[in-house]
Amino acid sequence: MPRLTYNIAMVSDFFFPQPGGVESHIYQLATKLVDRGHKVVVITHAYADRKGIRYLTNGIKVYHVPFAIIYRSATFPTVFSFFPVFRNIMIREQIDIVHGHASLSSLCHEALLHGRTMGLRTVFTDHSLFGFADAASILTNKLLKFILSDVDHVICVSHTSKENTVLRAALDPVMVSVIPNAVVSENFRPRKYPPEPPAPNNGFGNATPAVHHLGPNDPVVIVVISRLFYNKGTDLLTASIPRILENHPNTRFIIAGSGPKSIDLEQMIEQNVLQDKVEMLGSVRHEQVRDVMIRGHIYLHPSLTEAFGTVLVEAASCGLYVVCTAVGGIPEVLPGHMTVFAKPEEDDLVVATGKAISALRANKVRTEKFHDQVKAMYSWDNIAKRTERVYKGIMGDIPEADFYGYDVGNTAAWNGESHSGVRSFALIDRLKRYYGCGVWAGKLFCLCAVIDYLLFVFCEWVFPRDHIDIAADWPRKIYHSDDDD
């Protein structure tokens, strides 16, 4: 039986050339899915002069749709104006699955709505955590509820993120999968790691890297790489550094990153005369992160909120001992022998860092093993495989009972409706789902859905399907080893 492959469209406002976590997530996932024989196109908005279609490595086609950018490279939410172009791309590329990323991307939300109207399966990946209190969150949550009430499946990057999304969008938990981020571990090798994997002819000669002990007089170097914003816990950092240095004089700090809080850090350095102990590098590019990390022994991450914390995995992969605040999804990310957790309190952070320093001084932490362990934990191949399972599930290629974990036939008989996992495309069913979103919002959402449908019918009439050229595909890669579990 031939392997089932799909045509997938990844939609997000956030994509290269802009750097960032979501961007590289989409790229890495797309690459690995192409390796598995799928066809992937990425749809994003135009960045400066980067308009039209570009090709990336591995035959990923990127559509840069020209749209106005309003805030932090998110497009203006026009709801419907994207539809004609979107429909054109979907038909050209014969897309089966629309996969949107990032809950602050309006392009993604629009694509999911239009995708459902066109009768495509949709998946949404949530990369962030939101509270329920402030006005911005309330608005985003309402919008998310609108979009997700008719999405086929949701992917979250951590269990905490899943709980959050389930609450925010009132979803059925079985519709939400947890698939973490990963790192390209080849890009995050420790300092003394053998540079290239040994040639295949000398067997498994991958010798364990040399154990490097910390001498009694060597300074412990603590690395901090984060954007210097309030929510990254820079205030905690500013308060803790003098105390850590007071307790452990033979310690150095390297801080990379920029942001509004960097002025506080600089002030702290000057007031405590720590210029020779704290080095501030300013912002570093993602490919330089490894070079900064391998200069240190401990990675300190004082963030106040974090859905996953890819940087922690990167740091551990570089062989750093990780000290981090136990917030959001962070406690799920790394095992206990790689991390020291602190409460988001100054005292606790100082204590935890002290603990980490003395553990390193006592050479109790086998940091040289971290790289191989992390490599085994997080790889994009694995992520792509798990994402593929989601695609199979929503396309009906995995039996529903298997995918959703219970007897579906009984449920259907139970309340006369197909269960919430398999979403019917019939407009009336979609309207039913939207209507439940709220007293006023439900009606508004229904209106949007109806207009979207009319727009779809109009497009079908004005730009008939058979007038749209079908794009020629790259030859599909053939993926052989499919070791199930």
């Binding site: 509270g131 389930v166 003098p242 702290m268 405590n272």
Partner: protein, 474 residues
């Protein structure tokens, strides 16, 4: 049916969670869940969600319980029972990615964690601050109408107003003086006890004498005073804030003194001497700035008089209504006594309203009176009210009653004709105030049942930072 019971019990008035919310799942799990205080996954749907099956895993009714259990368990439970699911990402677990663990899902969700249920009478008591502000604004408007219709002499308004302000200031000054002395003593005690674990302070400074510290404290007071005087040369708003600022300058003075004094353990005699001197300076500067305000307004009155001559009266009424509404809505009702610039938007709006209203008046004397009166009412009176509330609840209530009577009587007089109308106004006003206080409190308590704050690990953590103070002030 269990499912409906679950839905109804999702949101209770002050409930953390009723056991009923987790009851329907009992037949599925072996562990007793009735003691749990968190939600089941199904509770993520609220009652308003679209009609669908009642839950993820509990669609069985009790009669085919065993049958369903086996079917259900065919996937997620029994077949993969060998290892328990863990909430971690770094190991490959033998569960599908969309597996939802019934026992731990939403374990850390807290609902209304910091809910303090309101009680009726304290709430009613708290509304008095709002009543006071509304009544002050009413009195101001009444005075304006009185002057505008030439029923009241502007000199009488400003005369009584100024007299009341002076009395208020004297009382306030007395209170502040008392307070300051108490505070110095208290701080000394607390600092002495705290000195035990502050290693920096018990060191070398114990030998130093009082002589260098006292003058420095005094000079800091005069410095504060002089800077205030220089800043207060400008507009009227700065004038007002100067008075408000004098409270804080006194406070900072107090804290300054105590901080300078506290290392010297032996120093206990005459802690208030720099304070007294400071207060004398302060009084002097207050009188100076008051006279400055007086003469500035006097000088500005002719200009203010013709300020809005070209604007139609309707716009002025609408605008001043809006501005006074802003004053009421943005007033700092919660502010304590030491707030530096309490609700500057509110005060500025009120002063602008008074300026605009004053420009409608025909004579310079009237303009002057109204402007001065507005500064007294909106700038200085709140300071006094705050202190009165801080000092004693009885003062506060008395003041509220007086203001209500004044506002009601004034309204009656300007709307009606004779003195009986004034009395009627008082009665009507008192009735409205009491009803409004009760009704609004009752309404707020009623609204509490809609409160549904959800907190969990996804919320941004609040960092606890202690030593910031240390490096900021050293």
């Amino acid at each position: 049916m269990a499912g409906t019971g679950m839905r109804q019990s999702v949101v209770g008035p002050y409930s953390t969670l009723t056991p009923a919310a987790v009851l329907p799942l009992d037949h599925l799990t072996t562990s007793p869940r009735s003691s749990r205080s968190h939600l089941a996954p199904e509770d993520a749907f609220n009652a308003a969600s679209p009609p669908r099956r009642s839950g993820g895993f509990d669609h069985s009714s009790n009669n085919n319980n065993n049958n369903m259990k086996s079917k259900f368990g065919s996937r997620s439970r029994s077949r993969r029972r060998k290892r328990n699911w863990k909430k971690i990402l770094w190991v490959k677990q033998s569960y599908p990615d969309n597996y939802t663990d019934q026992t731990t899902f939403l374990d850390s969700l807290q609902r209304n964690p910091r809910l303090q249920p309101y009680e009726f009478w304290p709430l009613v008591a708290d509304t008095t601050v709002i009543v006071q502000q509304v009544c002050s604004v009413t009195i101001f408007v009444v005075c304006f109408v009185g002057i505008f219709t030439e029923r009241v002499s502007p000199v009488a308004v400003v005369g009584w107003g100024s007299f009341a302000t002076f009395v208020g200031w004297a009382v306030w000054d007395w209170w502040v003086g008392q307070e300051g002395e108490d505070e110095v003593l208290q701080r000394q005690n607390s600092h002495r006890s705290r000195g035990a674990w502050q290693p920096r302070q018990d060191g070398g400074s114990a030998n130093s004498t009082t002589a260098p510290t006292t003058p420095s404290a005094a000079s800091s007071v005069t410095n504060l005073g002089s800077t205030e005087r220089t800043t207060s040369q400008g507009n009227l708003i700065a004038m007002r804030s100067q008075h408000g600022g004098s409270v804080t300058s006194l406070h900072s003075n107090v804290s300054h003194t105590s901080r300078l004094l506290d290392p010297q353990d032996g120093l206990r005699h005459r802690p208030s001497s720099p304070l007294r001197r400071g207060r004398a300076t302060l009084r002097l500067s207050t009188i100076k700035s008051a006279s400055l305000i007086y003469f500035t307004i006097l000088g500005l009155s002719p200009i203010l008089k013709s300020l809005t001559r070209s604007t139609s009266p309707d716009s002025i009424w609408a605008m001043s209504f809006l501005l006074l509404a802003i004053n009421i809505f943005f007033f700092d009702y919660s502010g304590g006594v030491g707030v530096k610039f309490p609700a500057s938007l509110s005060t500025n709006a009120a002063l602008m309203a008074s300026t605009v209203l004053a420009s409608r008046l025909p004579s310079t004397g009237q303009v002057f009176s109204l402007t001065l009166f507005s500064i007294e009412v909106f700038g200085l009176f709140p300071v006094f009210r705050r202190y009165a509330r801080h000092r004693s609840w009885r003062y506060h209530v008395t003041l509220t009653v007086l203001l209500t009577v004044g506002a009601g009587g004034g309204m009656g007089l300007i709307l009606g004709e004779g003195e009986m109308d004034g009395l009627l106004g008082v009665l009507v006003r008192a009735f409205i105030v009491i009803v409004a206080m009760g009704a609004s409190s009752w309404w707020l308590i009623g609204l509490q049942k809609y409160k549904n704050a959800m907190n969990g690990p996804w919320d941004q953590a609040r960092p606890i930072i202690i030593s910031r103070r240390q490096w900021e002030y050293d």
